[in-house]
Amino acid sequence: MSAMPAAPAARQLDRARSPLAVVGWALAAGSYGALAAWGLQDTAPALWADRALVLAGLGALPAPVALLSGLTTPTHAVTRRFLGQTGASIFSDAVRSAWLLVATLLAVPAGFLLASFSLGLDAVAAQRGAAVLSSGVLGAAIASMTLLAAAMATIAAGTQGAWRAAAGVGFGPPEVAPLLYAPALAFLAGLIPAALLTALWNAAPQVLSAERAWAATAIVLVGSALSARRRCARLAPQVHRALLVIEQAHATPFALAEEAPQPPRWLAAQETSVQFLGRAWVRRYPASLFVSVLIALAATLAVGPKTAPESVVILCFAATLYAGTRGLGLLLAGPELSAAAAWLGGRSDTLRAAERSLALRLTTPAITAIAAGWTSGAWGGAAAGLLGGAVTAALLVRLGHRAVAVWAGRLGLAAAMLLVAGLG
């Protein structure tokens, strides 16, 4: 297998790609840049650097999130098409012309600068901001492609046991498990250049002149792009092979499909009802940890915690959200779990006791949040208290009792708003 041909899907897409798609993408990127400038308009100059990083983070989200949602859940035909076409397209762009990247590279700063000049923002600050935005957005895109290519190479080589276990249940065949975490890592890695520029802007603004900001951005991006291009080109045969592996994995008949992973150790030691509910709980939405980390990161960037308790509150918020999404999963699965449990001989009182047991474990972050929030001020305390109440209600809710879930959701929303208001 020394010289694999280029992926047929990629070749077809090259022919099929319309110039209008590139123009449309450039317009969207330019609009994002303009909106980012508008977002800076009412911000105090001292906070511009941090706000620019937050905006860069928001702009950097779509690429890895699209990859996460599109590549890790290809259990139906639509997503398989996504994998076969858009996935191949991304590699095609990375390895060959990268028109979308070029469009983004030009459109994001262009849109930002045009808007900032028309809004009357400081010219030097605007150019620094454009540099941060460009490096964040494009850094995440480049990192996504690089890490995705690496994940595909792992798949092509044969996914090992650790990756298979990480896949869990609900994200398709274990063969594609390495794709699960590539987008998250890409998001974090891609923001590093933007964070460094922001730190320099905050620490020594005189050093980060407009010219130096542009030069640093150009060096980082061009270097990253060249490196990514070289790596993707080198990995092209493996990528093609991985696409075939993935296609084959999804075509695998039922009889050879994935095995249920082992439950967490703490769960294996619990009594029957807790194990039964807990297993369904931990498997239904295995990616919610990533979402929680992402939200914690966004909250950290947006709020900019100044004290340790504030940081703890944000961490607890993310952990609680994680527990809450799992709880929501259990709630949604409630009727089917109740039916299965009754069929197997489970009793409703033991199931309710199991729910309480799980809830106590998972409300620990919420209780910590209350304590931490209380020490950080009345607003934070109130928010954390509401949050704790919401999560407790959500976790204690009887299976399938949707009215309580609605109230838990309202309390949670109020808590989140108070938390941001109190800390911000």
Partner: protein
């Protein structure tokens, strides 16, 4: 009532339309009773009432002397019910269902799991036991549920159309598994609309028509058919017609 399962004067209506009209049915230990009837005759409704999943409008069902609805936990612990669409939890494997069943019913883990694996091998789903049921096909889910029901080691086993979706080899294997459970003393009720497969396995056959038992054939009466499935079908159809005529009056 000394039978493992005894139903007396079971009545059930849906929207004022009578479905079951005074059913009396005893299941003897170590027998396979086949419940026959046309589509919509009320077979599934009767099985759901006998399993405690549905509550009868009138009448009583006792399982090993415990009345369903009054001593529900004790009564339901003595029986297993495999419906046409078994309520399997999609994110758990059949093995994990078995572990939960062992815990809740207080079964011996080694014996139960060994039985489960044996049944699964016989029904050709041994490798699927560790997979989440959501990735299994409809037929494999049905087989997994049958394996769980058989492994539960209950005194009463209620099966609703267990042959639906099974290939010939699996259907033969299921017949052998049911006969083995019968020989262990289990009282088995199989709802079916296939007279031929019923004749092959039944120690007793009852025909449900218009909400009433229109025919009740014991082992001797079934033996008289001498494996003549056509003659048995004619007898069943005649009973259904009689039931229809009586219901229409």
């Amino acid at each position: 009532m000394n039978a493992p399962l005894a139903a007396r004067q079971v009545h059930k209506s849906w929207l004022d339309q009578p479905i079951l009209r005074g059913i009396d049915l005893d299941l003897a230990p170590g027998t396979i009773t086949v419940l026959l009837g046309a589509n919509g005759a009320g077979k599934s409704t009767l099985i759901r009432i006998l399993s405690g999943e549905l509550i009868a409008d009138r009448g009583a069902v006792k399982v090993d002397g415990h009345t369903l609805g009054e001593q529900d936990d004790k009564a339901r612990a003595k029986l297993a019910h495999v419906a046409q669409s078994p309520p399997l939890a999609p994110f758990l494997s059949a093995l994990e269902h078995a572990e939960a069943m062992i815990g809740w019913r207080g079964l011996d883990p080694d014996t139960t799991l060994a039985r489960l694996r044996t049944h699964a091998e016989a029904l050709q789903i041994g490798r699927a036991l560790a997979r989440p049921t959501r990735v299994l096909s409809g037929g494999m889910r049905q087989k997994a549920a049958l394996c769980l029901g058989l492994a539960a080691q209950t005194q009463v086993l209620l099966l609703d159309e267990p042959y639906t979706g099974l290939d010939i080899r699996s259907a033969l294997a299921l017949r052998q598994l049911l006969q083995a459970r019968r020989d262990e003393g289990c009282a088995i009720l199989v709802a079916s609309h296939l007279a031929e497969s019923a004749l092959a396995i039944a120690d007793r056959a009852v025909v449900l028509s218009r909400g009433q038992l229109a025919l009740d054939l014991d082992a001797a009466a079934l033996a008289a058919f001498n494996d003549d499935a056509r003659a048995f079908e004619r007898a069943v159809l005649a009973a259904m017609d009689r039931g229809d005529a009586a219901g229409g009056e």
